[in-house]
Symmetry: D2
Subunit: 424 residues, 4 copies
C-alpha cells in the first residue's frame, strides 16, 4: 500500500506539509503522489517526458539535488519512482475515461519555500505535529494544499467512474521563482488539452469564495548576476584588483534608476547580494539576483534589456566579467470566458460556496501562465481558479497555514466543472 492512499485529504495535506521540498528537489512529494496515481492506473510521465530539461530555470547545484534525493529515500519515498525521475522532479499523470469527450488538464504546483517553520505552539502545524521536519524549508504558500487537491481530484473522478474524456494532471515543480512552468509547458503534453485549469488557495479570499477567472498576473523575470573580478591586496596594490564590488554597487545604483516607462507599471529590485572578500582584499567576486516586472510582457522585456545592459557595462567599467543566468520567469494571461462561465455555473451548485467572483486581477506572478498560454495557443480554453481559504497569516509568512476546509471545495469545483462538459 502506498504512503498516501489510506489517508484523507486533510491527512495527505499534512503529510505533504510535514515533508516540504523546495523547487527541483521535490523527490518525496513527486514519488508518493505518483505511487497512488500509478495504482489507480494513470499513465505517468517523468523527467524529460514531463519537462523540457533545457527550459528548467533556477536549478540548484548537483550536490543539493543528490542530497535531496537521499533525504527523500530516507523519508520513505518509493524507490521505483525515484529511479524513474532521474534528477528531475515533478510529473504528469494521464487517464483516459472516455473516447469522445475532451482532454482536460489540471495543473497543481508542489514546491515549498526556504522559510523556517516556527516551533511556536500557537502555530497549528506545530501544535498538531505536522510542521516541517526539515530546517529552513516550509510549505508557506499552500502548494501542499494544491498538490492535495490534484490528488483529491483524481480520486474523486476515478472513484465516481470518470467522465467522457481524458484527465491530465500536471504536478508542476519549482513554481516559486517561476522556474518550472515554462519547462512543463514545453513537455508536449498540452497539445491535445482542450480545457485547462490552474488554481490557487487563499490569496486573501475567504473560504467559500470562488474566483472563476483570475487573470493578468504581472510578467516578471529574475536573473542571477555574477561579477568576476580579480583580487589584490587593498593596501599594497589596489590598482591590481578588478573590483567586483565596485561593479556591483554601480550596477545596483543604476538598476533602481532604469527610467520609468510611459506605457505602464514597471518594477525592479535586487536581492541575494554577496561579496565574501575580506576587507583587506579587493573583491574578486560578487553576486546578486535581480527581478524585473512589467504590466505587459513588453514592459517586462524593456526592464530586462535595460538591466542586462547596466550590469554588463558596470562590469566593463571596472574590467570585471559579468555573467547573467535566468533564474526564473513568468508571463501573463487572460481567462477564457467559456471557462469562466463554466466554473461560475458549477460553483452555484456547491453549497459550501457562498460567493462567486467572475474575474479578478491576479496581483502576483504565476508561471502557470506558460501552460495557460500554451493551451490557448493550441486553440484550447483555460482559466485560473481562486479557491478561497481563510488562512491565519499571509502567504510566505512563517505563520501561514491553510484552512483545510478549502481542500474539498477545491476538489468539488474542479470535478463539477469537468463533469459539466458532458452537458455542454
Amino acid at each position: 500500500m502506498g504512503q498516501l492512499d489510506s489517508l484523507s485529504l486533510t491527512e495527505v495535506r499534512r503529510s505533504l506539509h510535514n515533508h516540504p521540498e523546495t523547487g527541483w528537489t521535490e523527490f518525496w512529494t513527486t514519488s508518493v503522489l505518483a505511487e497512488e496515481l500509478d495504482k489507480r492506473g494513470f499513465n505517468l510521465y517523468f523527467c524529460s517526458d514531463a519537462v523540457e530539461e533545457a527550459s528548467r530555470l533556477g536549478v540548484p547545484p548537483a550536490d543539493e539535488i543528490s542530497a535531496a534525493r537521499e533525504r527523500a529515500r530516507k523519508a520513505g519515498a518509493p524507490t521505483r519512482y525515484i529511479n524513474r525521475m532521474g534528477d528531475v522532479t515533478g510529473f504528469i499523470a494521464e487517464k483516459q475515461y472516455g473516447l469522445t469527450g475532451p482532454t482536460v488538464g489540471v495543473r497543481v504546483d508542489i514546491d515549498a519555500l526556504d522559510i523556517q517553520e516556527p516551533s511556536d505552539h500557537d502555530h497549528r502545524p506545530t501544535q498538531l505535529g505536522f510542521a516541517s521536519k526539515y530546517p529552513n524549508t516550509m510549505h508557506a504558500c499552500g502548494h501542499d494544499g494544491h498538490a492535495t487537491i490534484g490528488l483529491g481530484l483524481a480520486r474523486e473522478i476515478d472513484d465516481r467512474g470518470g467522465f467522457d474524456g481524458t484527465l491530465k494532471l500536471f504536478f508542476q515543480p519549482a513554481e516559486e521563482g517561476g522556474r518550472g512552468g515554462k519547462a512543463m509547458s514545453r513537455s508536449g503534453h498540452l497539445e491535445d488539452v482542450e480545457y485547462f485549469f490552474a488554481l490557487h488557495l487563499g490569496l486573501g479570499n475567504e473560504t467559500g469564495t470562488i474566483i472563476a477567472g483570475y487573470e493578468h498576473p504581472q510578467p516578471n523575470t529574475k536573473i542571477d548576476v555574477s561579477f568576476l573580478g580579480e583580487s589584490s591586496h587593498a593596501g599594497n596594490a589596489p590598482e591590481e584588483g578588478r573590483n567586483a564590488l565596485q561593479a556591483l554597487s554601480t550596477a545596483i545604483q543604476n538598476l533602481y534608476a532604469v527610467p520609468r516607462h510611459g506605457n505602464g507599471v514597471t518594477r525592479i529590485n535586487v536581492g541575494k547580494v554577496t561579496s565574501t572578500n575580506p576587507q583587506n582584499v579587493i573583491s574578486d567576486a560578487a553576486t546578486m539576483r535581480v527581478e524585473v516586472r512589467g504590466r505587459s510582457p513588453e514592459l517586462d522585456e524593456y526592464m530586462l534589456k535595460r538591466a542586462k545592459q547596466i550590469v554588463r557595462h558596470a562590469g566593463s567599467m571596472h574590467s570585471v566579467e559579468v555573467s547573467t543566468e535566468r533564474y526564473g520567469e513568468t508571463t501573463t494571461f487572460t481567462a477564457d470566458e467559456k471557462l469562466v462561465d463554466l466554473v461560475a455555473n458549477s460553483a452555484t451548485k456547491i453549497p459550501a460556496i457562498d460567493q462567486i467572483v467572475r474575474r479578478k486581477t491576479f496581483k502576483a506572478s504565476e508561471d502557470a501562465s506558460y501552460l495557460i498560454r500554451q493551451v490557448q495557443q493550441n486553440g484550447g480554453s483555460a482559466t485560473y481558479l481562486g479557491i478561497g481559504a481563510s488562512n491565519v497569516a499571509g502567504h510566505h509568512n512563517p505563520y501561514f497555514d491553510i484552512d483545510e476546509n478549502a481542500l474539498d471545495i477545491g476538489v468539488s469545483i474542479l470535478a463539477n466543472s469537468i463533469r459539466a462538459y458532458d452537458d455542454m
Copy 2:
C-alpha cells in the same frame, strides 16, 4: 604531565598547527600553553587580568565562543585553565628571576585564520599529518610558530637559570584584524616593562635573516557597518520599503571616492558584503566591513571620519538606520635605537644568522603597535623583530607553512638579547 611539556619546539608548533583557533576562540591554545608555564612557576593572568575587556574588538557572538570552548575541552584542554579564562582567551605569564634587573616583556600572538587548509599531500602539514583538524580554520600566518617561540623562550630562560630581572610573556589573542592588541596593551601589565619585544616570522625574509627593528606599520581601522531598513513587497509597494541595499550601494560608491589626501597615502576597501533579502522583497538589512588605512594615525583618522560620514548619510538618504562597530584597529610605531643596537649585536653571536638588517619598513599592519607605544609612553624601549623563515608560500595563502628551523633562531635571538642586558 601537561600536553606540551615533553614536546620539542617543532612538535609544539605542529600541535598548535593541528589545533588552530581564530581570534577570541583560542581556548585550547591558551590553556595548553598556560599549563606548562604554570608548572614552571610563572604567575599567570587571565581574562580581565590579561586584557581590558571593554577594549576587545571583533568579538564573535556568545554561541561561537561557547562552541569553541566546548571544542577545546573535547580536544583535551586542561579544565583548570579553561575555567580561569571565562569567555576570554589569551594570557600573560610572569616570572621574577632577579631583583635588580629590568622587567622584559615579549609579546607573541596565538590566533589562526578562517582559511581551509588544503588536503593536498603536496602540502607538508597534510603529508606529515599535522594539518588543521578543524574545517575552515588554519594557522596560515605563522602564529603557531610565534606562540612556540614564546614558550621556547620561557623554557630557554628558565632552564638556564633565568637572568637578573623579570620576564613577562604576553600571549596575545586576536591579532588578525587588529582586535586584541589594544585590549592587552591596557591590561596594566606593561607599566613596569622596561624592554619590550614583539616579533614576526617570515614576511618575505629568508631563514638566517634578522630584522632588528621593523617599524612604521600602516595604521588601519576596520568597522562593521549595518544598514537596517524595512522590507516591503517589491512589486506591490516598493515605496513602503526603506531599502538597505540602496543605502549600501550608495555608500560603497562614495567610500571608494573619499578624496585622496595631500599629506600621504590613504586606502579604503569594502568586504564581507551581504544583503540576504529575496529578490521580490525590498532589502531590510545589509552589512559590510570597511577598512581604512593611512600612512599616519592622522590620515587613518581622516579616512575613518569620512567613511563614517558617508555611511551615515547614505543611510539617512534612504531612511535606513546605520550602525557602525569597530571591528579592529592598529596603529604605528618606531623601533628604539637602543634595542635595535642590542638585537643587532646579539644576532652577530648566533651562527645560524647570516644577515642582519637594522631597520625596515613594516608594510602590513600590526596591533603589537599598541603594546609597543604603551611601553614607550611609560618610558620603556621597544622593538619589533623580523625572524627570517624561508616559507613555501605567502602569508594567508592556504599553502603557507613555516620553515621550522626559524623557531630556534627566534628563541636564541630573544634569549641572547635579554641576557645581554646584564652586560649593558
Copy 3:
C-alpha cells in the same frame, strides 16, 4: 488711442507674438492689454492686488526684471500701467454689467518661452514679419492666442451690451514652469467667482473641436537645488575641498532611483545642471533643477519628499550645504459637470465647431489648477476648455504656430457660455 484697440484679433495676436516675454517679465504684454481694458471701463488690479507676492515662484533676479521693464518701455509700453505694476507682471480686470447675475471668471496666461524663433521663411511668423523681435524668446505654446482670446472676450461682451453679472478676467503671468498660478489664486479675487473658465488652444485637437472639460492634469513640483561646498586645489589638497560635484552626482544617481510607487505613476527628472569649477579645483558650487510628478497630489508629494531627503543627505555626505527653492508647481482638478454641460450645449450653437468632446484627460501640467481648485473650494464651478487649433508643429517646438481661425472660436464659446447663464 491704445496700441491694440484698433487691431483685429488676428492682429492683436501677431503683435503679442512679436513681443514675447517670459514669466514675470510680461511688462509690455500686461500694459498694452491693460490699456484697452482700462478704456473700456474695467477696474484693473495690479501687483499685490493681482497676485500674492510671497507665493510667486521662479522669479528671475532683480536685474533681469529691470531690464525687461526697460525693454518694454522702449517697445512703447504705456508708462501709466508700467508704473502701476511695480516689479510684478500680470493683472486682473473686472467689470460689473448686471446686479443680479453671477460673477464669471476667465483665466488666460500670457507668458512666452526661452526658445529661439526660427529665421527660416518656411516659418509663417517669420515669413509674414511678426516673429519674435527678441532673441531666445518665443510664444511657442500659444499663450499669445490665449491673451488675445481674453481681450476678444472682453470686446465681445462689452460691445454687445454685457450680460447680467460681472466679468473678471485673470491675465496670469508665468504659467510656464507653474510659477504664477498659485500666486494669482491667492489674490482674493476668486472668492466671489461662481463660474470659472480656463482654456488652452491646440494640444493636438484640430480646429473645430471643443473639449468641454479637460481634467486630471498631472501635479508636479520643480525645485532648484544648490550645492555649496568649498574649493581646494585638486592636486595639492583634494581633502580640503568639500566637493559640490560629488554631492550632486550622488544626488542624481539616487534621485532617478526613488522607488516607484504602488499607487500610481510617478516621474522624476533633472535638468539645468552646472558646476563651473576649473578641472584643477575641487567644485565649490553646483546647481540643478529637479522636477517630480505624480498622478495625484499625494504621489507628487511623495516624490518631492524623497527628492529633498536625497539631496540633503547627498550634501551632508560630502559636508556640502544644500539649499532648495521651489521653482514651480502645479496641482490637479476635475471639471464640474454643470459647466461641462453648459459648454457642450453652447458649442452646438457655433457653426465652426464640428466636434464636441465632453471630458478628456489633460496629459501635461497646468497651474490654472490652483485657480480652479480655489473656485471649487469656495463653492463655485469651474472647467478647463480645450479649443482645437490645427497647429503646424507641437507645443514648445520652435516651428509652433497657431491656426488663427481658432481665436474667434475661443471667444465665441466663452461668450456663448457666459450668456447662457441667463437661461439657466
Copy 4:
C-alpha cells in the same frame, strides 16, 4: 617704430598686462613681440614653422580665434605679423651671433587666464592704469613678465654684441592647461639646441632668490568628455530618452573612485560640468572636463586609461555616446646637473640675488616639460629656473601682480648663464 621698442622692460610688461590674451588667441602679444625682434634681425618662424599644428590641444572654436584676431588688429597689432601667423599664435625667433659656440634655447610662455581683473584701486595694475582692458581675461600667472624677460634677454644679448653662438627664443602660446608645449616641442627647432632654459617668476619664492633647477613637475592630462544621448519628454516617455545626465553622474561617481595606486600619488578631478536640458526633458547632452595626475608618466597614464574606460562604459550603460578629446597635457623632467651648476655659478655674480637654491621640486604642472625632454632626448642639457618675485597674491588669484624688480634679475641670470658658456 614698433610698439614696444621704446619701452622699458617694466613698460613692456605693463603693456602686455594691459592686453591679456588666453591660449591660442595671443595675436596682439605675438605680433608686437615679433615686430621688435624682426627689427633686431632675428629670423622669425610662425604657424606651422613654430608649432606642429596637429599637436595643438584645447584649441578654441574658429569664431573665437577670428574674433581674437580682429580684436588684436583693432588694438594696433602690426598687420604684417598677424598675416604671417594665420590662425596660430606664438613664434620662434633665432639669431646667430657666432659660428663656433652652442645653440641656446630659451622658452617663455605668453598666454593669460580666464579671470576678471579687479576694478578695485587697491589692485596696483588698476591703480596705475595698466589693468586688463578685456573682460574676464587677465595675466594672473606672470606670463606677461615671462614674455618681457624673453624680449629683455634678446635686447641684452643683442645690445652687448651677442655671444659666440646662436640664440633661439621660443615664445610659447597656450601654456595654461598644457595645450601648447607639446606642439612647440615638435616644431623641429629644438633639434640643434645644446642648452635650454625655461623659467617661472614667483611660485612663492621672494625677489632675490634663484632656483637653479626646478624639476619633477607632476604629469597630468585633461580630457573634455561629451555625452550625447537623446531627449524625450520626462513625463510622457522617459524610456525613449537616452539620458546623458545619468551617464555623466555615473561616470563622476566612478571617476573619483578609481583605485589608488600602490606605486605613488595619483589624482583625479572633474570640472566644467554642464547639462542644459530643461527639467522636463531627458538630457540629450552633457559635458565635463576631467583632469588626472600621477607622480610619474606611468601613473598619469594609469589614471587616464581608467578614466576613459569609466566614461565609455558609463555612456554605454545608458545607450549614450561618449567622445573624449584631449584638452591639455604635461609631462615631467629632471634638471641637468651641468646647467644647475652653470646657473648657480652665474647667480653668485648678480648682486640682486641673495639666495641660491640648487634644486627644488616643482609642485604644479608645466608643459615646458615637453621642450625640455625633447632637448635632453637630442643630447642637449636643460634646466628650469625659478626667478623669485615677491608677489602680493598667489598665482591665479585675481589680485596677483608681480614684483617688477624681478624682470631685470631674470634677464641677468639668463644672459650671464649664456655668456658663461664662453668660459666653459
